[in-house]
Symmetry: C2
Subunit: 151 residues, 2 copies
């Protein structure tokens, strides 16, 4: 159910990206708010941050600083819409490949950012829960990105 929810949100995001031009992505989603390109980089980097939590290497670690640690417009030397679309495709594809190799039991084991001690007390902090929280996070920004339509 959780993996299906992730795949369904990823498809919804793919569809939205296909409807938005690079020019639209360069605009702010609302006055004074993040630009579409920033949110695209942000969502790509947050999807990429799933890898280390599952025990694997990140696929696009260079996106973390400009799109997660720093707010929009602080770093001018960041990839544009075209490059970010490709990063997204790369990361979500690599993630899908990984996800399909993980077995049911493995999903309920602890993710890498929690100690064995804490996990004993909080067994819901498992690998599947990482995906669950990213589904919701993706939807949070999808609601904002769709304001770029008809702009």
């Amino acid at each position: 159910m959780v993996l299906d929810a992730w795949r369904s949100k990823v498809s919804q995001f793919d569809m939205l990206l296909s409807e938005l031009s690079d020019e639209q992505l360069g605009k702010e989603v609302a006055p004074g708010r993040n630009r579409g390109t920033y949110l695209l980089g942000h969502l790509t980097s947050l999807a990429d941050s799933i890898f280390p939590l599952l025990g694997y290497e990140k696929s696009a670690p260079h996106l973390w600083k400009p799109f997660v640690q720093l707010p929009d417009r602080v770093d001018d030397d960041v990839p544009g819409a075209k490059a970010l679309r490709q990063e997204w495709i790369k990361v979500r594809g690599a993630l899908e490949e990984r996800i399909t190799t993980i077995g049911t039991e493995e999903w309920f084991r602890k993710h890498t950012a929690i100690s064995a001690e804490d996990f004993e007390k909080e067994p819901h902090r498992n690998k599947l829960n990482v995906i669950l929280s990213r589904v919701s996070h993706l939807d949070y920004h999808l609601g904002q990105l769709q304001f770029l339509k008809n702009r």
Copy 2:
């Protein structure tokens, strides 16, 4: 995990509502988009729509038409921010009461909007999945509602 995610999003929404004045809620979340009050009514009615899917009566059925079936500003005779805050508290409280009475096995039984035949083919369309989809839907609009801060 799914119920925790729901409760966590509900708390996040409660916090956001406590930070927004009635006047802020009366504004559009972005130019030409839904007003905060419409989204509050919409989220309340969508939370309320969980009841019949679990097999219970709705708690605020009068909100469905103006806040789900109709777009914002079509029906002028709708409750304002104050009344909608109370509807939200009522619905999310009643839902929490219900949720705690449902046992683990019951969550994996079919929800009421799917036939027994279809459920055999698609067993993920269970009661828990209704909550999962509402978590994500809540986050979708939370991302928009937070634009009302500092306005």
